[in-house]
Symmetry: C2
Subunit: 230 residues, 2 copies
């Protein structure tokens, strides 16, 4: 299913991981150097964020937003529906797949910024995001109590997207969710997962979470550079 007609611009953070299953060429941009805000990149992705996929076979058509990229790849390259559901022949499963993609896309994993990158510790902000994360993981735990995959009877974009959003989150939380844990192990056991997680170089989570707070805060300051707004 890989294609030399696709180029992915990404970096070593989880949003780009699952897309790497499908491409032979992935190019890394540096957030620290603000390469994602350069003129040439803003022409292909007006939002100035990573990742972006270029489909050379369609006149260098650019697709951005990682979830939109997943759906594009599924529509055009997973025509046998090995990892996705077909909107025409399986409309309910297709809709369920979308529901879980949006659940993950909008909900999971905003804890990291306030825990590790903000210049000061804000207990209320940390608690707000951690409580919401715990709630969302509990929703997954319940969903997975009698099923192997989030939607239907096979691995799909819903699992891919949700796992990616959990990668940052679960490291931060002791894992009291056996159904979620077993589901992660099922995904990790797929050989394609590890190919995907390797291009471009995967963020070393173990190393990252051991970094001292002053180091991750410095990274936050370099990346975000927030001014106060009255």
């Amino acid at each position: 299913m890989t294609s030399p007609q696709l180029t992915l611009y990404s970096n070593a953070s989880p949003a780009g991981y699952p897309l790497c299953h499908f491409v032979d060429e992935a190019k890394t941009l540096s957030l620290i150097d603000k390469e994602q805000k350069s003129d040439w990149y803003l022409k292909i992705n007006p939002n100035g964020r990573l990742p972006t996929l270029i489909d050379h076979s369609k006149g260098n058509f650019a697709i951005w937003e990682s979830s939109a990229i997943l759906l594009y790849i599924a529509q055009h390259f997973d025509t046998e529906h090995k990892i996705s559901y077909d909107p025409v022949s399986e409309p309910k499963l297709y809709s369920e797949q979308l529901q879980w993609i949006f659940f993950a896309h909008g909900g999971i994993a905003p804890t990291n910024h306030f825990m590790r990158m903000a210049p000061e510790t804000l207990p209320y902000a940390v608690a707000r995001f951690k409580n919401e994360l715990i709630r969302l993981i509990s929703v997954l735990e319940e969903r997975l109590k009698d099923r192997e995959w989030l939607v239907g009877s096979r691995y799909s974009l819903a699992d891919i997207k949700t796992l990616v959003r959990l990668i940052e989150a679960v490291q931060l939380e002791p894992n009291d969710y056996p159904n979620v844990q077993k589901w992660i192990e099922r995904i990790e056991a797929r050989p394609q997962t590890h190919k995907g997680l390797g291009i471009p170089e995967r963020l070393d989570v173990e190393k990252y979470i051991k970094k001292p707070l002053e180091e991750t805060r410095a990274m936050g300051a370099a990346l975000f550079n927030f001014k106060n707004v009255e």
Copy 2:
């Protein structure tokens, strides 16, 4: 395009507005009474949030996540593609529509909580979300500089979704974005918009933003009830 075969569970907040274009029956649940966490509702929406659409014509199939509901309605009821793009005959426009839906779904409008509902003012948290909101509106301003609609040459789900996410946001920000402002006026001028915005009863934004902080904070406490998490 309305159908008596669809029931929408929603409330007076923006996520449900655009869905009301398409249904004749909308039922309001009370967040304060936590109706969205009741057993019967969790059976149709495991995430316990509003809105949820029930398609009675498909064995009472339940669809949740407002963006997934929009795409479901488009697939099954907008077969002439009056407000959406067709994945098969217009694959690039369909993908662009998804890109902007995800842009809005994941990005816009998380300012409200920290500005008005959190129990204390956290300047850094407020600034983080306001800066990001300003950045996102600037992306829209640039996008709309030479086009009427976010995608292609007609009003679509991308405009619907993005406007809904801006409704809460723009009220909080003096509007220095003429292209965005004209685009909002174009949407507001559509008669269907006002039908949609009326069922169930629309949140009175003018009244809401004039509420004293202690009142919105009390609402936040009732709705969210956060415990600190160490």
